[in-house]
């Protein structure tokens, strides 16, 4: 399968006063055409850092220090300012975590959609407004709401508007950073259905980011689990869910109890922060893993298409 996005060996560092925090470390994955790739992990594990890196939205003190990002063969990190502006939204669009915050409160949603067309397609205002209306209809919102301000819409409607904006230019890849976290469960389901429909219709690929494993499995074809800035497991979503190979994956899945079935104790996710000489998870790690407690090992192919960051059973790394 031809890859739309290829991230390899990506490292992002946050350089603060005197100390450096690694936001992402040696992250590699690829997303095929029309594929939904999920990235799961607790907050602060580096998921959003990856998303922002792909869009080149990282601002100092964050900095990409190693690795490459290729989009349909083009080197994203080499784009100059003008190319980058044309690249953003046309090739990759993004749905941010909170629609309330990602929409400008003092502009109407119409103005904010029209912006996209006037910038990228050099459309006249009137034509752009017409297209904006069609977009709203696509996500099931009355085009008359173009004149509405963000605060006049419900949370679900706002997120739909943001999704409509994201597909405005028919991008090849959509990044969705926790698109439903701020919404209640019913609306969450509606939005997910909307995304699936749009994806079937328009055929874009999705980089789907969430901490909610059940949502992830519902939507994703393949997925990666991130911990402490590294991918600890990478596999087909169904396989991974059915048989997690990494103890952290298992812990993350247990953090969201199934609605049905026997009750079981929730496992806490982390106890100690990850530092230079401690993976942080080892305190809670159900296995004795003294050989990897100081650092997370590199990914290793355990079975075809199944990668996991743990040393082979029993043997030293």
């Amino acid at each position: 399968m031809e890859a739309v996005l290829e991230v390899s060996g990506l490292r992002v560092e946050y350089r603060g006063d005197g100390r450096t925090v690694v936001g992402a470390d040696d992250v590699s994955f690829s997303i095929g055409a029309g594929e939904v790739f999920g990235l799961a992990g607790e907050s602060g594990c580096g998921k959003s850092t990856i998303a922002n890196a792909v869009m080149r939205l990282l601002k100092p003190p964050a900095e990409i220090t190693a690795g490459s990002i290729r989009f349909q063969g083009r080197d994203v990190l080499a784009l100059d300012a003008r190319e980058l502006r044309a690249f953003r939204w046309r090739e990759i669009a993004m749905v941010f975590q909170s629609a309330m915050n990602s929409l400008n409160p003092v502009l109407t949603i119409g103005e904010q959609i029209v912006d996209i067309f006037t910038t990228h397609e050099r459309m006249k205002k009137r034509a752009a407004r017409e297209r904006a209306g069609e977009l709203l209809e696509l996500v099931g919102i009355d085009p008359g709401r173009l004149k509405a301000y963000p605060h006049q819409l419900s949370g679900g409607m706002r997120q739909r508007v943001v999704i409509a904006m994201a597909v405005a230019l028919r991008p090849r890849l959509l990044i969705m950073d926790e698109p439903t976290t701020a919404l209640d469960v019913v609306v969450q389901q509606e939005i997910m259905a909307q995304i699936r429909d749009l994806q079937r219709e328009l055929g874009f690929s999705i980089l789907f980011i969430t901490h909610d494993m059940s949502l992830m499995v519902e939507l994703s074809d393949r997925m990666g689990v991130m911990y402490g800035g590294r991918i600890v497991e990478l596999a087909d979503a169904k396989d991974l869910f059915a048989n997690p190979l990494h103890p952290y994956t298992e812990a993350l899945m247990n953090a969201f109890p199934p609605l049905t079935g026997p009750r079981r104790e929730l496992t806490g996710l982390f106890d100690a922060p990850r530092t230079a000489d401690s993976c942080g998870f080892h305190v809670r790690c159900p296995e004795d893993r003294s050989n990897c407690s100081t650092n997370i090992p590199d990914l290793r192919e355990a079975a075809p298409g199944r990668w996991v960051a743990r040393s082979p059973e029993g043997g030293p790394r």
């Binding site: 350089r15 603060g16 006063d17 005197g18 100092p60 003190p61």
Partner: protein, 307 residues
Amino acid sequence: MTAIEIATATTPTTPARTSRRRGLLRQLIDSKKALTGLILLALFALLALLSPVLAPGDPSLINSAGSQAPSAAHWLGTTAKGQDVLALTLWGARSSLFVGFTVGLVATAVAIVVGLASAYFGRIVDDALTLVTNIFLLLPGLPLLIILAAFLPPGTSTVILVLVVTGWAGSARVLRAQAKSIRGKDFVAAAVVTGERPLRIMFREILPNMASVVMTTLLGCVIFGIGAQAGLEFLGLGDSSVVSWGTNLYWASNDGALMTGTWWAFVPSGLCIALVAFALALVNYAVDEITNPRLRSRRRARRERRG
């Protein structure tokens, strides 16, 4: 009033633990801006204290020919009347600094009480105090100062009183916003539940957590006090028998120093006011930067990275 509240929403957040307050002081000394400001302030305080030694005798005494340019005998020249400008400037520091800091302390004290009471009691107390604060903020300061000063018997205490009356409101608004956010924290709720007395909660639980905001408002009040005193005195509304930077400027202007070209009569006092205000503003700016790291310029971060 909603608009007003939006404007105050960007006040810097304070470090919540008392242990970090010592950190603030150390950071202040580390900051180049703050250090410059503190040294300047110390210098002026020293000059004010030592003025009887450096320029003994009554500074307003006429002891030489008028309008003399700076010379070895009179380093800063003489006024049109024949007073030594250096002596006037040194002695002027006493009144100006005294009034400025007194106004700053008293106005901040009033603002703290109003702000804490507003935040702690809430409801009607808050509404009433906020209303009064906003009215004082809205009334144009200088005209209010002038009519108050004009009707009161002239003197330094009048000047201080009038400046406090017109100067507390701005600080009260900032302190109220800050105190309100701390009032909402869990440890205050815990103190209320355990039955601590209101006064204790206000001054022992809430106040220590807003140290840096109190500091910035205090500095702001002192700047206001020094500047407004000079303004009042320049208009002839102060006590013209007292030697201060403001009265020096009043006399310089009245004696036509501008038209006769005796710049040395009005430059030193104005420069002193500006330097003191600048020093205070520098410290203020540094406190702001320390408590609100986003404002720090990126350059510094870069330099530190290289080092």
